[in-house]
Symmetry: C2
Amino acid sequence: MQTEIDKLAPGGGSLMIAWQLKGKRALLVGGGEVGASRIGHLLGADAHITLLCPEKGLHPTTKDYIAKYPNRIAYYDRRFTGPAELHKMDIVLTAIDSPATSREIVDLCRQAKIPVNAADIPEFCDFYFGAHIRDGPLQIMISSNGNGPRISALMKEKVQASLEGYEGLALSKIGQLRAELKERVPEIGGSLGRKRMKWMSKICNEWPLIDFTLLDSAMIQKLLDEGWEKDRVPTFTEVCSKPRPLGVEDSSKGHRFGSNILIPIAHFVAGAALMAAVILARRR
Amino acid sequence: MQTEIDKLAPGGGSLMIAWQLKGKRALLVGGGEVGASRIGHLLGADAHITLLCPEKGLHPTTKDYIAKYPNRIAYYDRRFTGPAELHKMDIVLTAIDSPATSREIVDLCRQAKIPVNAADIPEFCDFYFGAHIRDGPLQIMISSNGNGPRISALMKEKVQASLEGYEGLALSKIGQLRAELKERVPEIGGSLGRKRMKWMSKICNEWPLIDFTLLDSAMIQKLLDEGWEKDRVPTFTEVCSKPRPLGVEDSSKGHRFGSNILIPIAHFVAGAALMAAVILARRR
């Protein structure tokens, strides 16, 4: 029988993590189509990129990136030359056609203890990429663990369709609230750190997500004065310094009403109307 | 104006990756509630775990893990003692109440170039965890980049609800198909590797996901004989050696029919029936 622990730890998977690259150095070998997508991921994580690729191998998107981010991408019009390229690198990605060269780079990275990914060669990789959704501070990754990358891409579309579109904005406002709270209570960890986390968690549970999108600096201060300082969660209307814009009035209930009730009602009414028309027509 | 590249590379995020830990060594310092959840993640990724925690600090779930996986978890009833603990470790996680000890461990890891995560102290982390969904080979991670972990947890429920429930099984069958194809065409990378990827991608595009759940070994061989060898994608009925079980007959169309058409029809019919009843009642 499968126990709770078996379900928790089925094995055969990966450790799904959000790697921090702000101010870190990334070496990318290869600037073709896959290389261009890697640059997008690396820039999104604020890495400093060194790109090695003969100019004729550059994808148009890669060229756009190089032109647009000269301070973020150091581009060299040549192939990988040897171990010295790895000096001070924090992460290495290969996106080239030669498995032999990828193997060579991967072996050098292992010796230097630098995490490495070789595109299309899972056997060589310390980590895999997956299908990726980004909306401001929100990031979602879908991995098939190499079983079906195309399925991950199809599932990404489905997950994306299940989002409302304001999650990223709401999260960035929650991040501002958290940052302001940390200004007031700068303790790292410990009992105050835990209390801070619990209060943040509580307001996230009680407020509909869409309400956070309307927070401004004044409201955040009021929320901390009336909420954190008094160890409670104020309602949105308590801290709201301006009327809610039309269409947001009903907050999440509005959305639920829209998708779950209105459409069935419309179908019900359409059915009723058609039946009425049929019966009344027969009566004449 | 925001260009396509700005949307691709907005900065401020993480590199979302699926870290490979099969056969690797992980040091976990702390076995409380957070520690127990870390063990789940590490076992799910097939890591060998060394756990340091005074016995009185063990969460009941941690105790269950230690009892159930004696060959996967080496448990020591003590605190972290110093740099020697990091010997041969590939990844280190702390889940303890003392930020000072976490800081000490993190500094040692940085010197030794070992990736490290300190629970609840994002400032110390090389990587973050997020809300996590697992179904066989399918893994989905939702990260708020530290802005609102509780929101990630709420979004996880939503994403989970958007899944059908057979994605993991379908993906594992696709993985079997891919493995059998690699037996026939073992080339790593190169033009044959690309052709293999394209064919896999094509069948994933053309077959409804649920059909893959019905694949068995004989069907996989037939699919490769009639498909890969002839550079085409056979239909499901061409390779199916047994009748589809009832309820799967219509494959993905069946599902779409179920959720998108049947419910509106039901509401339409209900509306029509009610109106008929009302009108007919008035006629009597």
